[in-house]
Amino acid sequence: MRVLAIDTSNLVLSVAVVEEERVLAEMTTNQQKNHSVRLMDCVSELLDATGTAPEDLSGFGVANGPGSYTGVRIGVASAKSMAWSLNVPVIGVSSLEVIAMNATGFSGLIVPLFDARRGQVYTGCYRSDGMDAVRAQSTEQIILLREWLPLLRDLAQGEPILFLGEDVRLHRETIVQELGNQAQFASPAFNHPRAAHIGYVALRKLQDGGNAHELVPEYLQLAEAEAKWLAQKQAGAVKE
């Protein structure tokens, strides 16, 4: 089975074509944020490079957030539309989990994070599950980094905590202040998502369905206007 996988949820654009035993092609850039312009040309190029007709694909995988709202939407809208038009399944994979998969085999907590401004991060925490997967240890959330770090210390029970993601460098000082050398940092080569990982999660889950219509982004946050409206509603200020 051949699967096409996509991640456009942050600055990285990554596309891969994978089969059970082999990654046939993978392209990743980490510089320009013009995913809307480049994504489908990259897909076209990778399909041609691997001699794959779109009809040869058994399914799609896509990072469905959290991340940049627009970036996540471009990936999800593209993947679900391709999958729907070819009548094959599409599997959404957490954008955080994709990065955590860079550290399969690590013994300790794996903590991917994206900056979410005002001291907050989108984050989750994982443990390696054999050499080919990671298992979530908590739900993914948007949280103040200062509140997150003590929680991680409890979860880690003395084991090392590996922080992953392009934005880790923005927060490295805070992390080290709180966790000392329990905190570990990886080579830059482990900090960006690789679509091939998404391809393998998708391959495992394709049998479960993956209806294109039902695939939606996981923003982990309401739109600002919705959040305000809900708050007002709870305060009894507005009626539905």
């Binding site: 809307s36 982004p217 739109a223 539905e240």
Partner: protein, 365 residues
């Protein structure tokens, strides 16, 4: 310095498929079915039309109820709904038309102007389906779509003048032939629909306020003096912010004097000012450009006051007026597919690098 010549030997499989499909279809002489996609604001819409004229389906997933609670369209909320609805809406349009993607010759999508996050969803979906199924991709300007809604009602005759009025636009467009647009005038501040919404809010009416003002105006008398914004004598541009301020001042001054102004009369006077300027500039443009037809398009085309006044003036001038039914005046994908058909006939397709362009101009499309 001369231009260089670069020989390129690689053509993508996608480009070859598009070329073959187009040639085969043009040779066959079979009818053309175009799938339209529109997500520029708060309606997720998909449609199938035949030969640029006949609507087979026109599905609109409206978000109006969601945005009502915010008192206007919230871009982030609209974009989120588009992603949720997009493939469902497209599937429904095909099913209703009794077609599958195998029957579709081209996908026409709105790529501007509009809310960038909203546009991107439709553009991403259109490109993805185009790539996956080897179906030619056409980019359509939203206003061109509004104008071509008229072709779904009656054949266009050139030259023509189109007045496009909605919550987002107020444009006077001259067309010499199919696919050629020249903007004669546009609003310098608020769109006409926007002015309606603001005045409606001042009169404590719910969003969107246009239909409420229109209804109220018919119950009142236009006896409150309000300005007409003609701008320079030869200008076809519009300006509605001064009028809006005059309405607010009138209300404010009356309140200070302890008087009440009959809302119906104020609505009638406001509507009178807006429609007089819109209609007179349209008629002047039609006369000076020898128009064989006047088209009214956009959401505000549903406004009874505007329709009646334009109807009367066009009759007096002997210029045929075309107004599409309400369902084709508000944002919909059938009009996008209709405009796309003109580009299909010329073989004007977009590459997979098509982007959403929030401030796309009509003349460069």
């Amino acid at each position: 310095m001369g231009d260089i010549v670069m020989k390129k030997t690689y053509t993508s499989r996608y480009e070859k498929r598009i070329q073959q499909k187009y040639e085969a279809h043009r040779e066959s002489g079979a009818p053309t079915y175009i799938l339209g996609i529109e997500t520029s604001c708060d309606e997720t819409s998909a449609a199938v039309i035949r030969d640029g004229r006949e609507v087979l389906s026109n599905v609109i997933a409206s978000q109006a109820d969601i945005h009502k609670r915010f008192g206007g369209v919230v871009p982030e909320v609209a974009s989120r709904r588009h992603v949720e609805n997009i493939t469902l809406t497209i599937e429904e349009a095909l099913t209703e038309a009794g077609k599958t993607l195998n029957d579709i010759q081209a996908i026409a999508v709105t790529y501007g102007p509009g809310l960038v996050g909203a546009l991107l969803v439709g553009v991403a979906a259109a490109k993805a389906i185009s790539m996956a199924r080897g179906i030619p991709l056409i980019g359509v300007h939203h206003i061109a779509g509004h104008i071509y809604a008229n072709r779904l009602v009656q054949e266009m005759e050139f030259p023509l003048i189109a007045l496009v009025v909605s919550g987002g636009h107020t444009e006077l467009v001259w067309m010499k032939e199919h696919g050629q647009f020249e903007i004669l005038g546009e609003t310098r501040d608020d769109a006409a629909g926007e002015a309606y919404d603001k005045v409606a809010r001042a009169l404590n009416m719910p969003y969107p306020g246009g239909p409420h003002i229109d209804r109220l105006a018919h119950e009142g008398e236009a006896n409150v003096p309000l300005p007409r914004s003609w701008l320079e004598p030869d200008s076809y541009d519009f300006s509605f912010s001064g009028l809006k301020s005059a309405v607010l001042n009138t209300l404010h001054n009356a309140a200070q004097r302890g008087e009440t102004i009959e809302p119906a009369n104020l609505a009638a006077s406001f509507q009178d000012s807006v429609t007089e300027v819109l209609v007179e500039k349209t008629i002047r443009a039609a006369r000076s450009h020898g128009a064989k037809q006047v088209l009214l398009a956009g959401g505000v085309a549903a406004n009874r006051g505007l329709r009646e006044r334009l109807q009367a003036r066009c009759e007096a001038e002997g210029i045929p007026l075309v107004i599409p039914p309400f369902s084709l005046c508000t944002d919909n994908a059938a009009m996008i597919a209709a405009a796309g058909f003109i580009k299909y006939e010329k073989g004007q397709f977009e590459g997979l690098d098509l982007n959403g362009v929030p401030s796309l101009s009509l003349s460069e499309q």
